[in-house]
Every structure is written in C-alpha cells, then in structure tokens.
C-alpha cells in the first residue's frame, strides 16, 4: 500500500532526489528494507531530508498525515516536534552515531489536535554509495498506551495505598487530594463537591487550582447550573462541561502548554442511595476522552466515593463506641462512689472491734473467737474496698504516688519476711534471695507492698507442696524481682487473661475460694505506674513464675512525684490484711464457717417467763372465724405476732413463704386437715422443724396419740383454758428455740450471702433457697420445692440449645461431688440471665441423706462482655483473612451462624433493582424461591434505618451499607427463639464491623481488577502465533503486579522469536522496567539478531535502566517448520521439553549470567530440534519455586503436568499447568508461562471447488510430514480429509461453488484432530449421489477413530479424531 502511494509521488518535481530510476543503489536498498519491515520505521534522505515511511509507521504513528507526508521534507512533516527531534537528527548526520530515546514525550498532530504521545526510538545514519552520511533511519515503537496506562495505574494504586484503614472524612479527602495532585497530566485540576441536606453542594477538596479561582466556587445551590451543573450528578449522571466563559479564564494547565478545554463532572456514587457529591475533573486537552480516560476518571471518583462511605460509616461507629465508653466511665464512677460509702461504716466497725480485742483480752475463749471473726472479715472487706478504690484512682489518673529511692532488695526482703510464718505453717519451703542492689530503685512504698504481698499471697493460695521463692537482682539496667512457686500452675489457654480484671480461673484448686480476681490486675497496674513490666510463665501442675522489671533511677517517673530521699521511718502498714487472710486458709486456725459454741449465743435470748423480747411469730390455722379471732386475741395479748389462715393448704403456703415460730392449727379443716398439714410440714426439710400445736375437739387418748404420731409437737383438746394454751405455746416456742437455734443461725447466715444459695435433694429438687436467690432468679420460697425440670430452665421448645446446656450442667451437679459451671437461665419475668453455679455435695447430719448445696453468681454482664469481645475478634479474623468480597461475606455469615446457632444466615445485596443478589450459609436460594413473608421482611429492613436490628418470632435481621448496594442480613433462628437486647447490641456491633470489613474487601477487589487489567494491557502480543499458549498470573498476596513477562515476535521466513523474562522486584517499578526490556528485546529480535546477540545487546541496554540489572531472560528463535530452536538464557530457569514418548529434556545449554551483570561478555547459544508432537514449556520461577523445596521438584511437577495434558489442546494445557502447580493459597510470586507444541496446528480455507482438492492435499501432506506419522496413518488421514472436503464441495456448495471451506488440523501428543467446516446448506438427498457419498462416509468412519458431523443453519462441521499409533 505504502509502496503504491510512494509511486504516486512526483519525485522529480517535488523533491531534490529526482526520478526514482536514477536513485543511488543505497537509497533503493534502504527504501525496500523500509517497506518490507513489519516494524514501525521512517527515514529521511538527502539535502531536504525527504520523508519515507512504512505501513507499520503509518498505522501506529502517522495518522492523518498520510499520504501527504510522503516525499515532504521531514521538518515539514514533523514541524510541531522539530524542536525536539531536529537536534537529534543533526547529531546523527554530523557524527554518524546513532541516538536512542526511551519513551520520549512528543506532541504530535496526527488526529486533528496536538496529542500527547510517547515514543521509544533510535535514529541511525544512512550512507550513500560513497559511504557519506546522507540521511537517517528511525526505528520507533509507540509507547503512548504503556506510559499513560502506567501513570494512571500509579494514581489509582496510590489512592488505594492509604495505610490507615479508617479515618475521618476530612483526612480521607486530604489524602486523596495529595494523591490526585501528583498526576496533573491526567487530572489538571479537580474539585470535589459534597451534597448537603438542602440539596446544595459545597467544595470539599480541590487540586491543581487556586482556592480563589472563580471556577473553584465554594457553594453551589440546589439545582444550580452556573459554573458547574449539580442536577446531573445528583441524578447519578456524568456531564461534560466546555470550559469557555470568563469564569474559566486562567485555569491551570496541568504542566502542559495550554489550559484544558473541557471538564468532566462525575457523581460520587453511593450504592443504593443518592450520590454523596460529585467531582469536577479538568481534562487533559492533549488526550482524547476515550474509554480508557473516561474509565480512569470514573475509577478515581469511585475511590473517593468509597472513601466518603467508609469515613461516614466509621464516624457512625465511632459515635457508638464513645457512647459505650461513656457508659463504662459512669460504671467506674458509681463503683468508686459506692466503695467510698463502704469506708465510713467499715471504720466505725473496725475501730471499736480493735478496742474490744484489747479490752477483752481476759474474756472467755468464745467471745475472743467471735471478735477475731469480725476482725478478720473486716480486714478482708477493707482490703477489697481499698483495691477497688485503687483501681478507680488509677483509671481517673488520680493515684497519688510518691516515689522514693530505696534499696529494693531490702524493702522486698522485709515484706517477704512478714509472710514467713504463714508459709511455714503451710509446710512450704520459703526461699528469699535478696542481695543488695547496686543502684537505688524509686518506688512508692504502699504500692510496692501491694505488689509483693499480692504475689506472695497468690503463690501461697495455689501452692500445696514444694516451695515459694522471691528473689531480687539486676539485669540490663533494671531491677528484676521474681516470685516463683511450685503450685498448681496456670493452663496455657488461661495465660493471656491472667492479668485481666475480674478474671478468675475457674475450678482451680486453691486454699480458698475467696478472691475477686482483681489482685493480679492491680499488680500489673501498679507495676505499670512504676514504669515497669510484669510477665508470667507457668507450667500447669509445676508452678508459676512472675517476673517484674523496674528501671533504676527516676528518669521514667513523673518528676513531681519523685521524692529526693527515702523516708526510712516508714514501716509496712498494709501487711496485716494479707497475712491475716492467708493464715485463715491454713489448718490450725478457726474459720468463720465453724461458729463458736452454741451456748454462748443462747445467753442472748431473754428468759421466756417474761414474754418474748424478740418478736415471736405465730401462725393460726382454723376454719372457724370466731376461733381464729379468739386465738389471735389471746396470743396478741401475750405479746406474740399473729398471722391467721383458713385452712391447712393456706397454712402450708404461709409457712413455706415465711419462717414462723409456731403453728397453732385446728385438726378439722377443709382442703388439708391438721394432721395432713403436720405431715406435709415434716416431709419438707425446710419446714420440718417448725413446731405445731394441734387443737382438736376430739378428746381421748387415741386422738392425741394420732396427732403426736403425725409429728405434732403438742396436742390440746378443746375447750381449753386460755392460760393453758399460752403455757403450751410458750413451752413449745422455748423448746423449739433451743432445738432450732443452730438452724436459725444458719438461715440468717445463708440469707446474708450476696450469692443465690440453694440446697438440692438427691433427685435434684431445690428444697431451700435464700433471699438473694429470689432477687436474682425471681423465684421465692413459696414455690419450694422446685423439682426438675426447674422453672428457670430456658424453654426447651424455643431455646433448645440453652435448655440442653442447663440439662448437661444439671447432670453434672447430680453426678459429681463438687464443681462449677456457667449456664443461661430464665428469670421469672422472662429475661435471660447468665449465672455461674458452684456446688458441693454434703451429707445432711439430721437425715443422713446426701444433699447438694450451691450458689449462683449473676455473671450476665460479664458473659455478654466476653461474648461481644470474642465475637468481634472472630469476625475480625475472618474478615482480615478474606481476599475478596464473596469470601469475606461467606466467612462472616458462617461466624454469625455459629455465634447464634442459627439455622441459616442470609445476605441480600440490593445491588441493582428490587431483586437482590443472595448469599447464604445454605445453598444460595433464588429470590423468587423465598417465602413471600421473608421477602417482605427483607424489603422492610431495606427501607429501615441502618445498623438497627429487627427481630420477629422467626429470627433477626439488620441493614448495613455495602459498596455494591444496601445489604440486608437475616438470621433464621427458628420459631420463637428469644432475641434479647444484648443480642441486638451484639448484632449491631458485628454488622458495623462487617460493613467496614466488606468495604475494605471491596476496595481490595477493585484494586486487584484494575491492577490485573493494566498489567495485561502492558503485557504480551495481542495475537499469538499458532501453536502457542501463554498465561500471566499476579501474585495472590499481597496483591501486586510484577516484572514477569512473555513475548512472541513473528519474524520473516516462518521464524518466531520467543521471550520469557523476569525482572527483579514487584510493583509498578518492576512493571515499568519489564515494559522497557520487553520493547527493547522485541526491537532487537526484529533486527534479525540471534538470541545470543539479542541478549548481549540487551545487557548493554539493561545496564542503563535502573532496576533492570539481574533480570533473567530466556530468548529463543524457533523455526516453526523444522522445529529447530536456537536459544540463549540469561540466568533463567531451563525450558522443559517433553517428547511424545514421555521423555523430558531440560534446555540447559546456552546458559549465562542474568542481564547486565557483566555487560560486554560473550553469551553462548544452545540449539535443539523440537521433535514432532513434543511440547515446550517456558516459565518464570514463580511457577516452580517454593520455599524449602529444591527447584527440581517443581520442574518435575511441571513435567508431569505436561504429560498429563498430552491429549488436550495447548491452550487447555496452559490452564491445566497453571492450576496444577498453584499452591493452596495461590501463587505467592507472579508467574508468566509460555507453551508451544510442535508443529503448530494447520489452518487453511479454500473455495469449494474440486480443483482445490489436490493443492489442499499437498499442504496437508506437508504438515503431516512435520507430525512424524507412519505412512499408513498419513494415507488414512489424507483419504478421510479428502472425503470430508469432497463432501463439503458436493453437498454444501452444490449451488454456490466457490464459497469458503475452512480446514483445521491439530496434532496432540497421541491424537490427531481434523475439522472441516462449510458454510453451505445441505440439499435434499439425491439417491445416486448418496450411494457414492455413503461410500465416502464409510471410508471416513473406517479410517478415523471418531467422526462427528454437526449440521447447523450456517453450515456443516465435520470433526474427526484418530489416534497416532
């Protein structure tokens, strides 16, 4: 084409070169080289530098200047860039030396406007027949797409590279502004506007433009069309704005000569909502607004929109977190206030007690004992209150400390010594090793005492034999204090929470069950205040070691709290509670649980003859109102408190609800008579001891005996004298008092417990409870006994899982002698509680029966706090592991399902329209398959507020924001499962986290897609030669493109250049180096260099490109007809060649150093012939290299994969190799792969004429010869193919001779595939011809393994396979 246009130029008239006939030989030769080259070139010759170019140059670069440019002076053709290229051409012409320019920016006018373009080119001198330089040749490759693609990719990458995950809207905009301002070429200026509630928009960020520029208008009212349109972006549409008018004068140029001509207004889209705002982007006037540019601007706006979404959602989360923190502060304040309130009464108790202990040194042992009990428990309570106060002081930063310089060894040794007696008494070895330290340590004595004493008392509590040790030493500029025991140790899974506040290790064997779980937490806080650290190591069953490190000196402490010298007079003052408490755990000391002798207390009861001094409560049961009144009057008159009931049943209820001192009951009563009442009372251990006086109208010995046998305490026959009744009442109460003293005392004790107390009989029926039990569970003594299943068990039907948990715990209680468990229970009013039950089996001394006593502690708040914490952690882990949105979503749904033991969890994303995309923990259902009611619930949720849980009798759901549209979560919990306030809080917290996590994953997805699309755009030829297959896969994690590449270059004479290379490093830099090397290598191969020459030239080139050194390259030239391959390898892993017989050969010849390591050295070359039906695999190391595995293993695996795929097409084989060798988590390095199977498939098309049969056969015969087949196979294939072609000519094109027939043959390793397709319509059968064709078909079927004929509307296709013997 170009040749013809050159011929049209009137050379003699318009150029100094004259008529072509007379051109020198050198010019003729150069022009013919130019014209025949497929590589883009132009040249200039003669005094005016007359312009010539070839077809490739015309296509890639010249644009509209063709054919005008032919024969013109070069400075006219390239007038607009002559300032750039003229001097270079001069250099070539004057020095005769070539020039080389990499990606030079040139503004060319070839498309009707000055266009920003980039070219990599060399100018080399052209000489005339006499050897004088008379012109120059330019070999050029246009790199505009690559350079601009890389630039845009860098901006998108930087936009997505913000290390902080969440931040405020302003921070996000600032970050984006910084990144956008770094690409003034594509974004000469940008203005980001955010919509306000009134519909107006306000400027939020600007780049490239002065803030006071009239185009950077601050506020745009709703619907405004002046300066920038707001209506279009508000509707979610983009708009183009021509930048003419006064307001747009003096716009920034974006480092280009002229200002932008247009701006694009792009909405900041909110998925499922109105846009957040819009972005105005000034457009580079030197680039066409093509799909790529438009897409880039949309992606930038998309990034900013996602950022706004993320920041706003973060802000909402932040508010929620602050509310929770405020609640926490309030709790702390409350705690601290209440602790204060304890101190005054405690002081008023402890003061007099101390005084009494001193005054009553001579009193009898019982009194002393009781005083000790009061004293010890006072100390214990005081210690607890003080610790809580310490905490609240630390929390509000008001811990008053005075750090004085001391010898830590001395102070610590003294503290340890006060514990010696307790340790000795425990029978343990106490090792104190406190040699003096070289330097002073600054401590607050009172704090330090608490540290040491807490650790020692802790050690003593959990150590039963062996030793306890404390040691002080110096190490690395710090004092080190260790406390070591040989106790029970701490389980590994408990270690992380050892120092947590209120965390107690359950079921640990210890000297005492006392303890609030705050000792170690306080120790850590106190050590922290000293600028020190504490750590613990432990082996379960062997002991625990606590190590404290305190820096020497005072530099790390607040200066105003440092005292100049030690207050030597100060003595330990807080040791008493610790030691007292420890001693009480040990044998030989009386404990509070064994009360002093009963007789002592008895003295406190007034003599009965003077009437009761303590209120005595009598219950009267009689169905006769007059009798009730009479008895009441009598008893009230004697100073008793009286309650009355009408029958035995009421009496029983009353006695169970409240302790009475005596029951006076008639025998004859409705519902339950007196005898039955006595029997019922006696049967219940709790009421067995209530004295009963029976009144009866029946006289006589027998009646009396019957009553007494039933268990009545006394029996009085009506009528009776008032005095007698009162005497009997008094006597019985007195007797019962004596008898019941012990039980009363116990009841008082039990009722004073803060924990819910219960007693179970052997069958698990709860037969006794205390007041706290009623407070916590809502069930009072009136309902006793509570038989299993207890009424506080969660409902088996609606909450089977919780019910099961309680059932299991209950079995444990019945089956073990002691234990502890935490269970969900249902309060009488229906709300959910979590309680920790601790129980012990004991023998009832009265009955000899085994009973279980236990307590419930309300741990609801604790339980939910832990549940929230671990659920958030689990969700966090699952989200951080996910690398894509579907993976993150699926993982999160599983977590929710696990957490709530839901039947299933469903996510509906309303990404477009009203039919959402569903994801479920079950097989994802289709929207229309969901029950209508469920669809309705989801629709309602979608319309509701975000992050607000909604629950009904089937489950619970919540709406959250998601980049692809509103996301509704629904958990199917089953019928009537309770979904409490705590559940709702947890769900909203998790949903908030999930929304953020999905946002992150979404951004990650987008970046990945963008990165891969751009890398593929930079990579590889768009059309591969036949027989080749290639793959490129970026590393999975972290997502980055890399420097691997492959390339094929079609050379003259059926030769093909093959390149696979690997630049060091990852990311954009490596990709950019890769792009340059790839272009250079391609150009060198096109200049007909051999592989070794190519690599040697590439050595020189790479030496000048930063980052290109040590690139490895395999470069080969293949003769596609003979299979002859010459190659050279610059440190690249060997190619793998698998022959049809399965023998593998590695291409290990021609190997030398990686690029540019020793430029100038000769490079060797290897060669081999690729046998027919062999497969060649070239690759980069990411395919085969794995950590801790020799390379040969990977190469063997690749060979096996090639073997396995011997009977697949080369493209399928490439897919197979990539997936077979991929590690479980994906490739951790990028991989480029190139496959070739020899010979390449044969493809031809020819007109449907019988005269074509012979030439087609000839070509096929030649190709079959390349396949190296036995002669009979060749003949069979020829005949079968001939028959198929004849068929296509006869049938398909009988009426349209000359239409095209398509023919394809491909050799697999053991198989040959033939395809013959025509475009004609087969006619109705013609008997005569059909006999003949039937014969042809018969031949095809007999000669080939498999024949498939597929007729279709657009033609018939015949597929034939045959095995290669």
């Amino acid at each position: 084409m170009v040749g013809r246009d050159l011929a049209l130029v009137d050379w003699a008239a318009t150029t100094p070169l004259g008529d072509p006939e007379g051109w020198p030989q050198s010019l003729k030769t150069t022009v013919s080289i130019l014209l025949s080259s497929k590589f883009s070139m132009w040249m200039a010759w003669g005094p005016e530098l007359t312009f010539f170019c070839n077809a490739a140059y015309r296509r890639d670069t010249l644009g509209r200047k063709y054919p005008w440019a032919l024969g013109r002076p070069a400075n006219e053709v390239w007038a607009e860039i002559w300032d750039d290229i003229g001097p270079r051409i001069d250099t070539v012409l004057t020095t005769g030396e070539a020039t080389w320019d990499q990606a030079l920016l040139l503004f060319v006018e070839r498309s009707g406007y000055p266009e920003e373009s980039y070219h990599t080119f060399s100018y080399s001198p052209l000489r005339d027949d006499a050897g004088h330089v008379v012109g120059m040749l330019c070999v050029v490759s246009e790199e505009t797409d690559r350079v601009i693609g890389e630039r845009r990719m860098a901006t998108l990458r930087d936009l997505g590279s913000d290390p902080s995950v969440v931040r405020t809207e302003q921070e996000m905009l600032d970050f984006a502004r910084l990144q956008l301002s770094r690409n003034p070429h594509d974004l000469p200026f940008t203005l980001t506007y955010l919509f306000h509630e009134d519909g107006g928009a306000a400027l939020a960020a600007a780049t490239g433009i002065r803030e006071d520029h009239p185009a950077a208008v601050d506020r745009l009212p709703a619907g405004s069309e002046t300066v920038w349109p707001t209506a279009a972006p508000a509707r979610g549409e983009s708009a183009l704005v021509p930048l003419d008018g006064a307001v747009f004068a003096d716009l920034p140029t974006g480092e280009r000569p002229e200002v932008p001509l247009q701006a694009m207004v792009v909405p900041l889209r909110q998925q499922g909502g109105a846009p957040y705002g819009f972005m105005v982007v000034g457009l580079n006037r030197y680039r066409d607004l093509d799909d790529g540019y438009r897409g880039f601007v949309e992606l930038v706006a998309g990034h900013v929109a996602t950022g706004v979404a993320s920041a706003r959602s973060y802000q909402a989360q932040q508010r929620r977190a602050e509310e929770l923190a405020e609640l926490d502060r309030a709790k702390t304040a409350f705690f601290s206030n209440i602790s204060h309130e304890f101190r005054t009464p405690l002081t008023l108790i402890m003061g007099p007690v101390e005084e009494l202990r001193e005054r009553l040194t001579d009193a009898d042992a019982g009194v002393r004992e009781e005083l000790e009990v009061v004293h010890r428990n006072g100390l214990r309570l005081g210690k607890l209150v003080n610790t809580l106060l310490d905490f609240s002081r630390i929390e509000v930063g008001r811990m008053q400390a005075g750090y004085e310089p001391v010898d830590l060894a001395v102070v610590t040794g003294e503290l340890a010594s006060v514990f010696r007696s307790a340790v000795d008494r425990a029978g343990l070895d106490f090792r104190v090793d406190c040699p003096p330290l070289p330097e002073a340590v600054f401590i607050d004595r009172s704090m330090w005492e608490k540290v040491v004493l807490n650790l020692l008392s802790n050690a003593l509590k959990f150590t039963f034999d062996g030793s306890i040790g404390i040691a002080v030493g110096a190490e690395d500029g710090a004092a080190v204090v260790t406390v070591v025991d040989t106790g029970i140790g701490v389980a590994a899974q408990e270690m992380p929470r050892l120092f947590e506040r209120f965390h107690r290790i359950e079921n640990a064997r210890s000297r005492s069950n006392e303890g609030s779980g705050i000792g170690l937490a306080l120790v850590r806080e106190l050590v922290g205040l000293h600028g020190g650290e504490i750590s613990a190591t432990s082996t379960e069953g062997h002991g625990t070691r606590f190590t404290i490190r305190l820096p020497f000196g005072s530099a790390h402490l607040p200066a105003d709290a440092v005292l100049p010298e030690a207050d030597t007079g100060a003595a330990p003052f807080a040791t008493d509670p610790f030691v007292q408490e420890a001693l009480r755990w040990l044998p030989g000391e009386r404990t509070a649980a064994t009360p002093a002798a009963v007789t002592d207390i008895e003295e406190g009861i007034d003599g009965p003859t003077h009437g009761p001094a303590l209120p005595v409560h009598v219950l009267v049961a009689d169905d006769n109102a007059d009798m009730r009144e009479y008895l009441s009057r009598l008893l009230l008159g004697a100073g008793y408190q009286v309650s009355t009931v009408n029958d035995g049943r009421q009496a029983l209820g009353a006695v169970r609800a409240k302790a009475f001192d005596l029951v006076v009951s008639d025998v004859m009563m409705p519902h339950l008579d007196g005898l039955a009442l006595v029997a019922a009372l006696r049967a219940d251990p709790r009421t067995a001891s209530v004295p009963v006086l029976l009144l009866s109208a029946r006289a006589g010995q027998e009646a009396s005996i019957e009553g007494l046998q039933a268990g009545a305490d006394d029996y009085l026959v009506k009528p009776f004298a008032a005095a007698e009744l009162l005497a009997r009442v008094r006597a019985n109460i007195e007797l019962a008092r004596l008898r019941n003293h012990h039980a009363r005392w116990r009841t008082a004790l039990v009722d004073s417990l803060q924990e819910a107390f219960f007693v179970c009989d052997e069958d698990g029926a709860v037969i006794e409870i205390n007041a706290a039990f009623t407070d916590i569970l809502g069930y009072g003594p009136e309902g006793l006994p509570y038989r299993p299943t207890h009424p506080w068990w969660p409902d088996a039907r609606t909450d089977s899982e919780a019910h099961r948990q309680v059932g299991e715990a209950f079995a444990l209680l019945l089956g073990s002698t002691k234990g502890s468990y935490t269970i969900p229970i249902t309060h009488r009013d229906g709300h959910r509680l979590w309680a920790t039950a601790t129980f012990n089996q004991v023998d009832d001394p009265d009955t000899g029966r085994r009973v279980t006593v236990g307590t419930f502690r309300d741990v609801t708040a604790e339980h939910y706090a832990i549940q929230r914490e671990s659920a958030l952690a689990a969700l966090g882990t699952c989200l951080s592991r996910a690398t894509s949105v579907p993976e993150a979503l699926a993982g999160a749904l599983d977590e929710l399902k696990k957490l709530w033991r839901a039947r299933s969890v469903l996510a509906a994303v309303f990404d477009h329209g009203d039919v959402p995309t569903l994801t479920s923990t079950d097989a994802s259902p289709a929207w229309q398959e969901l029950p209508a009611a469920r669809r309705g619930t989801l629709e309602d949720l979608r319309q509701g507020p975000i992050l607000t849980p909604v629950a009904d009798h089937t489950g619970a759901g919540i709406l959250l924001e998601f980049p692809e549209g509103p996301l509704v979560l629904w958990m199917d919990l089953g019928e009537n499962r309770p979904f409490t306030g705590e559940d709702q809080l947890l769900l909203s917290l998790l949903a908030g986290h999930l929304a953020q996590g999905l946002n992150r994953a979404h951004q990650f997805d987008q970046q990945r897609e963008t990165a891969i699309a751009l890398q593929r755009a930079i990579l590889g030829p768009s059309r591969l030669p036949d027989g080749f297959a290639v793959r490129y896969e970026p590393a999975t994690q972290p997502l980055e493109v890399g420097g691997d590449w492959y390339d094929t270059v079609t050379l003259p004479d059926g030769r093909i250049g093959i390149v696979v290379g690997d630049c060091v490093g990852r990311g954009l830099e490596a990709a950019s180096v890769m792009g340059q090397l790839r272009s250079a290598c391609r150009a060198l191969l096109l200049q007909d260099a051999s592989p070794a020459q190519t690599l040697m030239a590439l050595d020189q080139f790479a030496a000048g490109v930063p980052g290109a050194i040590c690139t490895t390259v395999f470069c080969g030239v293949l003769n596609s007809e003979t299979g002859q391959l010459t190659y050279s390898s610059a440190g690249h892993p060997p190619g793998i060649l698998v022959r049809p017989d399965g023998v593998t050969r590695l291409l290990e010849d021609g190997r030398s150093l990686p690029l540019a390591v020793r430029p100038g050295n000769q490079r060797p070359e290897g060669s081999c012939t690729i046998p027919a039906r062999s497969t060649l695999l070239l690759y980069t190391d990411g395919l085969v290299e794995r950590r801790r595995r020799p390379l040969s293993v990977g190469i063997d695996q690749a060979s096996e994969a090639l073997q396995d795929g011997r009977d697949t097409s080369v493209d399928d084989l490439a897919t197979h190799v990539m997936s077979r060798l991929a590690p479980v988590d994906g490739y951790d390095d990028d991989v480029a792969l190139l496959l070739y199977r020899h010979p390449a498939p044969l493809e031809m098309s020819f007109p449907a004429e019988s005269s074509q049969l012979a030439p087609v056969r000839k070509t096929l015969r030649g190709w079959l010869a390349q396949c190296d087949l036995p002669p009979t196979t060749v003949q069979n294939v020829l005949v079968a193919a001939g028959e198929a072609c004849a068929n296509a000519i006869e049938h398909g094109h009988r009426d349209a001779p000359g239409d095209t027939i398509y023919f394809r043959a491909e050799a697999y390793v053991d198989n040959l595939h033939l395809t013959i397709a025509d475009t004609g319509r087969w006619k109705a059968p013609q008997p005569e011809l059909d006999i003949h064709r039937g014969r042809g078909m018969g031949l095809m079927r007999a000669l080939m393994q498999q024949v498939t004929i597929t007729p279709g509307p657009s033609g018939t296709t015949v597929d034939m396979h045959t095995r290669i013997a």
């Binding site: 012979a1254 056969r1257 009979t1272 005949v1279 004849a1286 064709r1333 014969r1335 042809g1336 018969g1338 007999a1342």
Partner: protein, 95 residues
C-alpha cells in the same frame, strides 16, 4: 485445475487389455478415468501402482466395471479398496 493424472492404455504380454494410471484420483478427475474405462471392452487390468491417492469418488467409477477388471495397486491404497468392498468383487494384485 484438475488433479494431475495420466492414463496410458496398453496390452499385457498375455494380450489382456491394460490401463496404467499415474497420479492422484479424486472427484475432479474421475470423469477422465470413467471415460477411459468405458472406452474398453472385455477383461481389463488397471494398473494403479503409480497412483498415490484414491478416494471414494474413484472407487465409484471402478464399481460398474468390477466384474471385468483386475487391479494392480500399491499397498497404500489397500485400506480404501478393502473398506469399500471392491476387493470382494475384483482381484487385486499387490506390487
């Protein structure tokens, strides 16, 4: 363009009519062969030793004369002759 094929008539030493074919036989040139066969009468030996390719189109021309001809063929043609059933009607000599 038709596929190259030369047909040379002659006589065997025993006087039997002989037709020697050299080249390839496909649908583009079966007419020539059919005409040559039709031009003979009585027993005929058709020598296909020099024929490198023969497909069903060629076979179809031979079938009407199966009763009176004998073939001499190179082994490469054997599968086609056998599969088509021609060998059941006609004697085929190898070379």
């Amino acid at each position: 363009m038709t596929t190259p094929l030369t047909l040379t008539p002659g006589r065997r030493p025993d006087g039997t009519a002989l037709l020697t074919a050299v080249g390839e036989i496909d649908m583009s040139n079966t007419g020539v062969l059919a005409a040559a066969l039709a031009g003979t009468d009585g027993p005929l030996v058709l020598d296909l030793t020099g024929v490198e390719y023969l497909d069903s189109a060629g076979i179809s021309v031979l079938f009407p004369h199966a009763d009176r001809i004998e073939l001499v063929a190179n082994p490469l043609l054997e599968p086609v002759l056998t599969i088509s059933g021609l060998t059941e009607l006609t004697t085929v000599h190898g070379t």
